[in-house]
Amino acid sequence: MRLDLRLPIGLMFSLFGAILVVYGFVSNRAIYERSLGINVNLWWGVVLLVFGLVMLWFAVRARSPRPAQDQRPPAAS
């Protein structure tokens, strides 16, 4: 594949997740009145972060063997 799509997806959702989690911690509790008293930024931020990291993990795992081989060319054999 020319660009592993899981990489941008993983990056974007991890970033979204991280921002929302941080905001969930620092934001005023009063804004969660409309979301039934649930700190949705924090909780949904965690969901997004986990989703993003899983995508990233898949992307990195698919990527890692190739550069390793490239760095040590046939010289070894």
Partner: protein, 569 residues
């Protein structure tokens, strides 16, 4: 009406999304070397990506806003668009039609028509498709810009220019691959952006049980049985018993067969995604993979509408009232966003709305530039040029397609009826197409003349039917009956649309069949190899383990949608 106020954080999320969308286009630009790369992604897209792009391209703003509105207006019967309409059609296109679309190496749906029939059938399809795509894209641009103006107070012009420019840049740079990759990103964003809304709404209303008890109020207020909004089949014994105003036969034949197969099996906007797949197996799996998330889409797009109307009826005016005295159903999803989501998630939800809009628009633009370049420009205007010439034309067509969409969007602001008129014309043109493909793919005797005149007859018959009938309570004009005499009155607009599709399909089918019998075949068996079922070697999946075979996936999808129909009976 109260406007939604966005915080700095909401704008930041939107900006990050724009940056990623453009970044994907920028990264992919190096891989566009030939027209094949630009228009067909070099036929190298993995099945899961093509599959998600397949539904995402269809999940435009009109789908999201429109299905939400229908969920409010008709209740769970709207799910028929998914579990009766889309599922069987997607299975059919994957199992039975993809072998010919992909196997023929046609680069577009009109090009398949050229290979199978002749140049005039291709021309007819290509030109109507190109015009319709540009208008669809323009109308959805208009719809979104209007919505953003209403709920956020954003400038109409700014919304149109901003989204137009972003979509233009990423398609211009990376072609179809860029559109497809972004559609997958957009798909996840739509799911993860709308899901918290649905969960909060459901929790607030007291779960499914709380929802049905409120919908019972909606139904009895409207003069139906209490369960009319929460049962999909129970009240379809007669058209007058359900809010959609259709009985089971019109529903199955009109929506389930004529309309859905016409859309999912012949619309190049979606078929293009499967044609870009990396192999025959991947192409066949594309619509099947797409069908799995599609099955659960009602939760994201229809349920919010049902929640909104439930609250509207029992909590006093959740939805703003439009000028016609009816609640403004189109605002179901935006109102829920405003009601439940605080700054942060609100930005995410809004980004999801923008994403749905962009995916739909990019789908239209990529389908347009391909059909324009291959089926109109290369065929009728300047054949025999170098590949780089057509690649340049593809870039130019992308710019032109977006400009034309913008013009169409502004035309929609000038003429109130343009939206309705175009939807109508689309239905006349699309209605008969599936009959042509069905006969073309499965009966080698079907001739080019028959296909061409069959299509024209189907379109004409649809227009006649629409012109001579009317839906209950409507005034003759754009809503039907424009030919003066009204021969039949349907209980609802939906019923009228379904029956128009049935008429279009049947008349095209019969005409094509009859003319075929009276005209000479112009293509030999040899020329039709790979294009017609009886002359094409069967796809053998014997080598694959059973759980990887497309048939297994297809059976799973059909069983699952049958179960969903029974659960929400």
């Amino acid at each position: 009406m109260e406007r939604i106020h966005l915080g700095a954080l909401d704008y930041a999320l939107l900006a990050i999304y724009f940056a990623f969308v453009l970044g994907i286009g920028w990264t992919l630009r190096r891989f566009v070397k030939s027209s094949d790369d630009f228009f067909l992604s070099g036929r190298s897209i993995p099945a899961w990506i093509a599959g998600l792009a397949f539904i995402s391209a269809n999940l435009g703003a009109q789908e999201v806003i429109g299905m939400g509105a229908s969920g409010a207006k008709y209740g769970i019967m709207t799910s028929h668009f998914y579990w009766v309409g889309a599922m069987p059609a997607m299975v059919f296109v994957g199992l039975f039609m993809m072998p010919f679309y992909y196997g023929s190496r046609a680069r577009s749906v009109p090009e398949y028509l050229k290979l199978r029939f002749d140049e005039k059938t291709r021309g007819l399809n290509a030109i109507t498709f190109a015009v319709m795509t540009v208008f669809s894209s323009g109308i959805s641009m208009y719809a979104l810009a209007k919505l953003l103006e209403l709920v956020l107070g954003w400038s109409f012009h700014a919304s149109i220019i901003l989204t137009g420019v972003i979509v233009l840049i990423y398609i211009f740079l990376g072609g179809l691959t860029s559109a497809i990759y972004n559609e997958v990103l957009q798909f996840f964003l739509i799911v993860l952006g709308f899901l918290p809304l649905v969960l909060l709404g459901l929790k607030d209303i007291g779960g499914w049980h709380g929802l049905t008890s409120r919908l019972a109020v909606v139904a009895t207020n409207a003069g139906f049985e209490p369960g009319a909004w929460s049962h999909s089949w129970k009240y379809t014994d007669a058209a007058t018993h359900n809010p959609m105003g259709v009985e089971w036969f019109g529903l199955i034949m009109g929506l389930g067969f004529a309309m859905s197969f016409g859309y999912w099996c012949t619309d190049f906007l979606v078929v293009q995604r499967a044609m870009a797949a990396g192999s025959m197996t991947a192409a066949r799996r594309t619509p099947l993979i797409a069908a799995i998330p599609k099955m659960f889409m009602p939760v994201l797009v229809i349920l919010p509408g049902m929640l909104a109307i439930g609250m509207h009826a029992t909590r006093g005016g959740f939805l703003p009232i439009g000028s016609d005295g009816q609640p403004n159903y189109n605002l179901a999803i935006p109102m829920l966003l405003a009601h439940y989501l605080p700054t942060g998630l609100l930005g995410l939800g809004l980004t999801a709305l923008m994403a749905s809009f962009m995916s739909g628009m990019a789908g239209n633009v990529t389908a347009f530039n391909t059909v324009w370049t291959y089926d109109i420009y290369q065929t009728f205007i300047r054949p025999g040029q170098s590949d780089s010439h057509y690649l340049r034309m593809g870039h130019a067509a992308t710019v032109f397609g977006i400009l034309a969409s913008v013009v169409a969007a502004y035309a929609a602001t000038r003429f109130n009826n343009i939206n309705d008129i175009l939807q109508l014309v689309f239905s006349f043109v699309n209605g008969p197409l599936f009959a042509t493909f069905l006969l073309g793919m499965f009966w080698k005797r079907t001739t080019g003349h028959a296909a061409f005149y069959g299509l024209l007859t189907g379109t004409f018959a649809a227009a006649m039917h629409y012109g001579l009938t009317l839906s209950h309570g409507a005034v003759p004009g754009i809503k039907g009956g424009f030919l003066g005499a009204v021969l039949h009155v349907y209980p609802s607009e939906m019923a009228l649309n379904f029956w128009t599709a049935i008429i279009a399909w049947s008349s095209c089918f019969v005409t094509t069949l009859v003319i075929s019998l009276f005209t000479q075949r112009t293509k030999t068996d040899d020329e039709l190899r790979g294009l017609v079922y009886s002359l094409t070697p069967k796809q053998s999946d014997e080598a694959m383990p059973w759980y990887k075979r497309p048939v297994t996936l297809a059976v799973f999808i059909l069983v699952a949608s049958a179960i969903l129909n029974i659960i929400f009976w």
